[in-house]
């Protein structure tokens, strides 16, 4: 019997496992790196293993440290979560060798299914179709290069021209080797308009194998799932039955134990599917299955790990559940990860809504790990109902401090294309309008900027530290020009200016338009501002970051038009701080893994200069124009912060002085 369960993972999945453990009366042991020490999941556990360092290799991937310190804390079982060591048979063996209970399938099964090549062989042997190509020709294009040991899109490359194949293989191998320790890659035909459908199975380790349900995870960006739902929509009964049967056929011969997921690629037009891979662990998106079945998948994992026997009663799916992954990233910048302090993080908790969060307000989102802030799951009677409810919750969520994909998720959930039926994996690529700043965003920014100025005026008047105590802001007895407040709209290219003149009562007016401040009052951590603009009433909740340096204040505005992050545009810049033109800066924090140029090199536009690895993805920084490398500010292997100058390329026009 498991009495004290160590979760060799972090964030929301650790919380998730602890929740079930607590309910069952099992004590818990959390593991945390230095960077994660303040996260909520750590405080939830009964015992903590603190591992110095921040990189995964120093912490969540360090098998010896995990087991040594886990045993010190009296753990008698290990749950690996997902990612990190979840599909590392060596870790599973080490856990078992240490005499602890491994919550997962036997190591041999992990080995077999963990190798995508071997797994495909196994699928073929049980009669499940697979996609494969050993010697690709023009006819097989496009192709997908994948890492054998991979997952989460890492090491994946789409190849549309055979000439690009060698480079894609090398790149994928390098990324895979860095991420998973194995550079083995393989090639398969790329079904562009396929759907990602997966079947959730459970086995008791004594021969009982059951299908718990299916899911659709087709909405993906960079081959990573962002929207997942259960049951898989628009699936003919026969196809669904065949998929379930295939999943059972695959799993039954394995001597499987615990939960697992059989991932399939489904071509809806042809009503055909192929086996992709089997994940021998709990999936990120397991909550949608839990929502429609009422099962606790973690509990089932623990039952199997403790030698319990099935079968369990599996209810037919009730209603529909959709999960979204809320990421710290900028969708319109190729899903570039963002980091920083999560100033506010409030997702409305409502009936039928589940939030599994890694981060809470006040936490720092660091560049060391996956940037998923939380999973938000809505369960409703129908797919449409679930999507609408989830979009509503997301819209009303207050997320301040780091940019997220929230607007994109809302756009997806409310789009006609999504609501019309099951999307394909090409969905986001085919609907770029869902990922960019919409017109509404710009209108929202304009309203937000005005609301922010009103709130700032009120706050200025109250908190002027005794100087001009309570004097109306911006007051002038001789008026020359209106006051102008400039905001950077974070995530948008153009700054926003608000011209205003002081109103006698202490509020503000617009120099030409009809602007009336209808009311300003304290609300939560900010101000609720009601105003009327040309007769139209609007309101917003405005939070002025109190900790910011003067002239660099962040302002967060939430309202029915959306959420806007504004930042004061400093009135002055020190000429010494100006960045020379031609400077290439890091778009995100990361490590310089390759440096291809030196000072004095002549470069051509588009030529790769260096490769930055951030959030396990490799980003190539290329020359913006023809020119000469004037300076190189970094070396291979150094860690850089977002905005840091990497290389300066002097173009023909010369650096701007």
């Amino acid at each position: 019997m498991i009495t004290r369960l160590l979760v060799a993972n972090r964030g929301e999945i650790a919380s998730r496992v602890f929740r079930t453990a607590r309910r069952l009366g099992v004590q818990t042991v959390a593991v945390c790196s230095g960077a994660d020490a303040d996260l909520g999941y750590v405080a939830e556990a009964d015992f903590v293993v603190r591992l110095p360092g921040a990189t995964p290799a120093e912490t969540y991937l360090d098998v010896d440290a995990l087991l040594t310190w886990g045993e010190h804390q009296g753990a008698d079982a290990v749950h690996p979560g997902y990612g990190f060591l979840a599909e590392d048979a060596g870790f599973a063996r080490a856990v078992e060798a240490a005499g602890l209970t491994w919550v997962g399938p036997p190591p041999a099964t992990i080995d077999l299914m963990g190798s995508k090549v071997a797994a495909k062989r196994h699928a073929t042997s049980v009669g499940v179709p697979v996609l494969s190509v050993t010697d690709p020709t023009e006819a097989d294009l496009p192709l997908l290069v994948k890492a054998s040991a991979g997952g989460g899109g890492r090491g994946m490359r789409v190849v549309r021209d055979l000439a690009d194949l060698p480079e894609a293989l090398d790149g994928a191998a390098a990324e895979a080797a860095a991420a998973f320790g194995s550079g083995e890659v393989f090639v398969e035909p790329y079904v562009e308009r396929g759907r990602h459908v997966e079947v959730q199975v459970w086995a008791d380790g004594h021969g009982a194998v059951q299908v718990l349900g299916d899911r659709d995870c087709s909405v993906q960006r960079r081959h990573q799932k962002v929207v997942e739902e259960a049951p898989a929509p628009d699936l003919p009964d026969a196809v669904r039955a065949a998929m379930h049967a295939a999943a059972l056929a695959l799993t039954e011969p394995l001597g499987y134990r615990g939960v697992g997921t059989v991932e399939l690629l489904y071509d809806a037009d042809a009503e055909r599917f192929w086996f992709l891979e089997m994940n021998t662990r709990l999936q990120v998106e397991h909550p949608v299955t839990e929502a429609v079945t009422g099962l606790d998948l973690v509990e089932l994992q623990l039952v199997a790990a403790e030698g319990g026997t099935g079968p369990v009663e599996v209810p037919a799916p009730s209603g529909h559940a959709i999960e979204v992954r809320l990421y710290a990233e900028e969708p319109h910048h190729d899903h570039r990860p963002t980091t920083g302090r999560l100033v506010t993080f409030e997702v409305p908790r409502e009936a039928g809504v589940r939030v599994d969060a890694t981060y809470a307000a006040g936490d720092d989102v660091t560049p060391y790990y996956d940037g998923m802030l939380a999973k938000v799951v809505a369960h409703g009677p129908t797919r449409t109902a679930a999507a609408r409810s989830l979009a509503g919750v997301l819209r009303r969520a207050r997320i301040h401090g780091v940019a997220t994909n929230r607007d994109q998720l809302v756009a997806v959930l409310t789009s006609e294309a999504f609501l019309a039926g099951a999307p394909t994996t090409a969905f986001l690529g085919e609907h770029p309008e869902l990922s960019g700043p919409s017109r509404a965003d710009r209108v929202a920014a304009s309203f937000a900027a005005t609301h922010a100025v009103v709130a700032e005026a009120v706050e200025r008047r109250r908190d002027r530290h005794g100087v001009q105590h309570r004097v109306p802001p911006g007051w002038r007895n001789v008026r020359a020009a209106p006051q102008v407040t400039r905001w950077e709209v974070v995530g948008q290219e153009h700054p926003h200016e608000v011209a205003w003149v002081p109103a006698r009562g202490g509020g503000i007016e617009h120099p030409s338009a009809d602007l009336t401040v209808a009311g300003v009052r304290r609300a939560d951590d900010g101000w609720r501002v009601d105003l009327t603009w040309e007769g139209v009433a609007s309101w917003a909740q405005v939070v002025l970051d109190p900790a910011a340096l003067p002239g660099h204040r962040d302002v967060f505005v939430d309202g029915p038009l959306g959420s806007v992050h504004l930042r004061e545009v400093p009135r002055f810049t020190d000429p010494a701080d100006a960045v020379a033109s031609g400077s290439l800066t890091a778009s995100m924090p990361g490590t310089v893994v390759r440096l291809d140029v030196a000072v004095g090199d002549t470069v051509t536009a588009g030529q790769p200069l260096l490769v930055l690895e951030a959030m396990k993805m490799q980003h190539t920084v290329s020359a913006p124009a023809d020119g000469v490398v004037a300076s190189v500010a970094v070396q291979q292997g150094v860690q850089v912060a977002a905005g840091e100058v990497l290389v300066v390329v002097e173009t023909d026009e010369g650096p701007d002085r």
Partner: protein, 522 residues
């Protein structure tokens, strides 16, 4: 004379302010901007803290003279890095920012404000120096400008000069006498004598940059403490300089809860008398200027001696949470009782260290045998004695009439209130125009009678009309403001804000109530 309303007067005020803002006019402002330079007010807007209030002083200086309204300089009180400062900015679009007699008066008044209130001084310099045609009027008194700057420094009120362009001859001493200097590269030129004068004096062919350029002063002469890349950079540096002064006000601001006035300040426009023969109840003004009822201020206005000397309302109130004593004329005329009441009230305010607000609508002290016999002169003298020797901050607002000894007794300009502002309907003179003309008429008639000469009634009527009109014109607020007899004409609805700013400014110097007065003759 046609009936003018307060709205006409406010429009006229806005028009006069617009003249000051326009400076040298489109052509010269355009030329100035074309050289990549900011106007005086733009420089000030950049200098002061975002969203802070700026109280311009003497914006109508030079009104009614041959000089441009505003007198080629902007002065005022602004907040820079949380520090209230006197800001002085030459307007280079008006005759190159040259100093004329009104400029000088305005500068000297600004320095007086800085001295009385312990404010640091920031000079935004771009001036051609003295307006040579009027040199005889400015040369001798003009030296005080430099004396004031160094004395301010000696009082530990920091001085900072930011030089954007010419600072020639006397102008060179503004940076020269300031504690801190910032000069804009390629623009600032600071020298005692420019190339023409140098050639005249010594025959040397000097080049402007090496004679007084910003680079030279930063690297060679050492007159420039900071070299700025451009105007924005100069103001950025200036703000950093001020931030390092680490000024802390000696008087803590109040922490009381406060409320906006109980009555709508907009209604002050209806209350402001355009016919100055009409008295009005100043309590109505108090209710629209001072704090309304709040938790910490359960009664908005506590009157002192409400049943005695009822022609002068005295009482205690708060403004932006700051305690104030109010003296306001109720029925225009001051009698012995009012003077005695005021004398006691001023002493009480000094006993508690409470600042005083004087609100004028007075035609002066009552005349007549009964009143003279009742001691109106000695009682008026007591009032003037108390006010003259009072050491709490005083602020004066001319709401309507301000005539005769009433102006003195109510702390007129000659009594050095910290600040004095007028409403656009106010008038001030030794007596009302009609009375003055009438008095002149009576005196002439008496003289004629004494000589036994016949009295020219027609001439008398003409003389009276002329005098009446002259005095009427001379009593107008723009005239008085043009002559620097107030610190500005304000919209009555802004009275609360102006007084609020002034009260805050006053907190830059500590005060204690007076312990000694002149000999009273009760």
């Amino acid at each position: 004379m046609s009936e003018t309303t307060i709205h006409d007067q406010l429009d006229a005020l806005a028009a006069e302010h617009a003249k000051a803002v326009a400076g040298g006019g489109e052509k010269y402002v355009g030329r100035h901007r074309a050289r990549g330079r900011l106007t005086a007010r733009e420089r000030i807007e950049l200098l002061v803290d975002e969203g802070s209030a700026f109280l311009e002083l003497s914006p109508l200086a030079g009104w009614g003279s041959d000089y441009t309204v505003g007198a080629s300089v902007v002065t005022g009180i602004g907040v820079v890095e949380g520090t209230e400062c006197l800001v002085v900015a030459n307007d280079p679009t008006v005759k190159g920012g040259a100093t004329n007699p009104f400029t000088l008066k305005k500068l000297l008044r600004a320095h007086e404000v800085a001295e009385r209130n312990g404010l640091p001084t920031i000079s935004l310099v771009e001036s051609a120096g003295a307006d040579l045609p009027t040199q005889k009027e400015i040369f001798s008194p003009g030296g005080r400008i430099f004396r004031d700057l160094t004395r301010a420094s000696a009082r530990r009120e920091p001085t900072l000069a930011v030089v954007f362009g010419n600072a020639t001859a006397g102008g060179a001493y503004v940076p020269g006498m300031s504690d801190h200097t910032v000069m804009v590269r390629g623009a600032a030129q600071v020298f005692l004598g420019g190339p023409p004068l140098v050639r005249m004096a010594t025959g040397e062919e000097a080049e402007e940059e090496s004679l007084g350029g910003a680079e030279m002063h930063a690297r060679v002469s050492g007159l420039a403490d900071h070299l700025a890349a451009d105007e924005h950079d100069a103001i950025r540096i200036a703000r950093r300089v001020v931030a390092r002064w680490e000024r802390h006000k000696p008087v803590a601001p109040p922490t009381y809860d406060w409320a906006e006035p109980d009555a709508d300040p907009e209604e002050l426009l209806e209350l402001a008398p355009t016919d100055l023969t009409e008295p009005f109840d100043p309590r109505e003004v108090v209710a629209r200027v001072c704090d309304g009822v709040s938790v910490d201020n359960p009664v908005a206005f506590d009157e002192f001696k409400p049943l005695y000397g009822t022609s002068l309302v005295c009482g205690w109130a708060r403004l932006h949470g700051r305690p104030v004593g109010v003296l306001a004329n109720a029925q225009g005329v001051l009698f012995s009782e009012e003077a005695q009441k005021a004398t006691q009230f001023v002493q009480l305010a000094n006993a508690s260290g409470t600042p005083l607000l004087f609100w004028h609508h007075t035609t002066g002290f009552m005349v007549g045998t009964d009143y003279e016999q009742g001691g109106i002169v000695k009682h008026g003298a007591m009032m003037i004695n108390a006010i003259s020797n009072s050491t709490v901050p005083h602020f004066t607002v001319l709401m309507g009439a301000s005539y005769g000894a009433g102006n003195y007794a109510m702390n007129g300009r000659a009594y050095d209130p910290r600040f004095l502002f007028a409403w656009p309907n106010a008038k001030s003179a030794v007596m009302g125009p009609k009375q003055l003309a009438g008095v002149l008429s009576i005196v002439s008639r008496a003289a004629a009678e004494a000589k036994g000469a016949p009295y020219d009634e027609e001439g008398d009527a003409g003389m009276r009309a002329m005098v009446e009109q002259m005095v009427e014109e001379q009593s107008l607020p723009f005239v008085l403001s043009g002559l620097l007899y107030d610190d500005g004409v304000i919209d009555p609805r802004d009275t609360r804000t102006v007084l609020g700013i002034c009260l805050s400014v006053a907190e830059n110097t500590a005060w204690t109530g007076a312990t000694a007065y002149g000999v009273f003759r009760p």
